[in-house]
Amino acid sequence: MNHLSSETFKENARAALADVQLRGALKNATSLFGERRKEAAAGLPNWEDLRTQARAIKDDVLLHLDRYLEEFVRNAESRGATVHWARDAAEANQIICGLATERNARIVVKSKSMTTEETHLNDALEAAGMQVVETDLGEYIIQLAGEPPSHIIAPAIHKTRQQIGELFTAELGMPPTDNVDQMTSTARAKLRDRFAAADVGISGVNFAIAETGTIVIVENEGNIRLTTSLPRIHIAVMGIEKVIPRFADLDVFLKLLPRSGTGQRLTTYQSFITGTKRAPADEGPEEVHIVLLDNGRSRMLAHPVTRQSLACIRCGACLNACPVYQQVGGHAYGSVYPGPIGAVITPQLMGIQKAAQLPYASSLCGACREVCPVKIDIPQLLLHLRGEISPRKGSRAERLAFKMWAKVMVSPALYKMSGVAGRILQRVIPISRAWTNGRDLRPIESKSFHDLWSNE
């Protein structure tokens, strides 16, 4: 497996920048997603109100997370679901593998779940002797390729149709083609066979409703519906932050999530699952298990700035808007969660030392904050995390330079002199290579704004 590490972000990014084909794919995808999001948001005149409301709901949930979780668990259990609590990834995997082995399961079908990517559940299930099949088309592609996802909602965004065609020919025996419909129907046929044979279906959760004990999962393909309907056992895995108070709150979130993610008014399918089946329905699993995962989340509650990370609804809009993600893609981040939200979540989940470069993988331009449907102030979070990494980061020369800069900026005379000096020095002294390696430095204008102003 070709997994990069967060610790080597700079090297990963440099390699990604040299990959012309990757950058082409990223450019197409992020700009298309970005345009669609913009159009969809413009279609709702109360978009800003919705964002404000969504954030207020999330803030309320997070401030009373213990209470809402208990309410959710009580209601889900009273309707026949079984709830499990997992402090960390290992505990979650142990619970899930235990459930599967106790029931002699051999085949597990999975629908897309970032949370199970976070816990590396597939490795654990395979080690326990299960065959694990990802059923979302994008996830299926990268599972066949042995790669991690590179985008929260479009996991195989980094691959071209030619590469996928070759992969399907090699792995599935498909006659060579780069026709997307043909590839899709090949995957459909292969996966139907697995759905029919599966003992356990594992899904993620988009929203868990405290008031009713309902889990809501959104999708376009239909594989979540199959995963949660056909196998005898359904296991849903969710971070503890996924709970929302009321059923009616879905009105806000189901408007924001699809529009921000894919630009759709609504995704094709929403599944609302409340406990186990009851007559007259005779379709659906006999057992519904819900695994609540902490894995570092409760720690983020300890400060209002870090707490906002838990408001994220995993739409992926910040990835598409980010000038860094647009150039380097998801793998360079070396973490399950890429892009701006990944740069703030990963150091908090994995430990700041393991991902110390990620909070610097941003120009702090604020595009992520602008598109975030729950108004997470990602630049503020990045700065907060930079502060935690090292309060006195920077070389001695850098500190000296900033000290001098501060002196110059508060004195009109020194400021004027610096302009004159800068014009001369720029011609004789080369500016730091680190700056000019990837970009040009424009020569300073021969006349300053002050000069122009006084000449007027």
Partner: protein, 192 residues
């Protein structure tokens, strides 16, 4: 079950929240309702279904429309949510017919409720799904549909369907009918 995990997560939540500096509470402003259209909901529903690549027929003779669609499709193996095969036998069928308990005009969404539909997979597994809905069951907005669902105890499984199954996972190229149907017909029964 592991009670200690539950206790330790809840106590970690409480401890960390207690340690947090206070924040100014955000005032929650109710969202301004948006009047999106003056059109009647049934017409809008049809437009919305068509905008997501579905077919929509408004009729007073549902039986006739249904038989014409099936004849045109030359379908022989037809599953139906009231008289269904075993869930695992559904794979061999060409057409699945269901009703829908509500429709949402602004999005073209069908709402299937497990309290009424014994087998919702007939709407997913066969390559063609035909849904029949009463015109009077069509509401304006997503919010209206959510309110409607809460009028009684919530059913174990509710499914919202907006158009046929789709994916854009390969180069963001739209492909219709990945795990679900390639074609969706919605018959709106306006006879009542």
């Amino acid at each position: 079950m592991n009670n200690s995990a539950r206790e330790s997560i809840l106590s970690s939540i409480r401890t960390h929240l207690a340690a947090s500096p206070p924040v100014d509470a955000h005032p929650v402003n109710p969202v301004n309702p948006v009047i999106l259209s003056q059109e009647d909901p049934v017409t809008r529903f049809k437009e919305s279904v068509e905008s997501v690549s579905g077919h929509c027929i408004i009729t007073t003779d549902t039986a006739d429309v249904l038989s014409r669609i099936i004849t045109d499709l030359k379908a022989r193996r037809i599953a139906n949510s009231d008289n269904p095969p075993n869930a695992h036998d559904i794979f061999g069928y060409e057409v699945g017919i269901s009703t829908a308990q509500a429709g949402i005009a602004e999005t073209g969404t069908l709402v299937l409720d497990s309290a009424c539909e014994r087998h919702r997979l007939v709407s997913l597994v066969p390559p063609v799904h035909i849904a029949i809905i009463n015109a009077s069951a069509i509401v304006e907005t997503l919010g209206d549909a959510l309110t409607l669902l809460q009028k009684k105890e919530i059913s174990p499984a509710i499914t919202f369907i907006t158009g046929p199954s789709r994916t854009a996972d390969i180069e963001l190229t739209l492909a219709i009918g990945v795990h679900g149907p390639q074609e969706l017909y919605v018959i709106v029964d306006g006879s009542k």
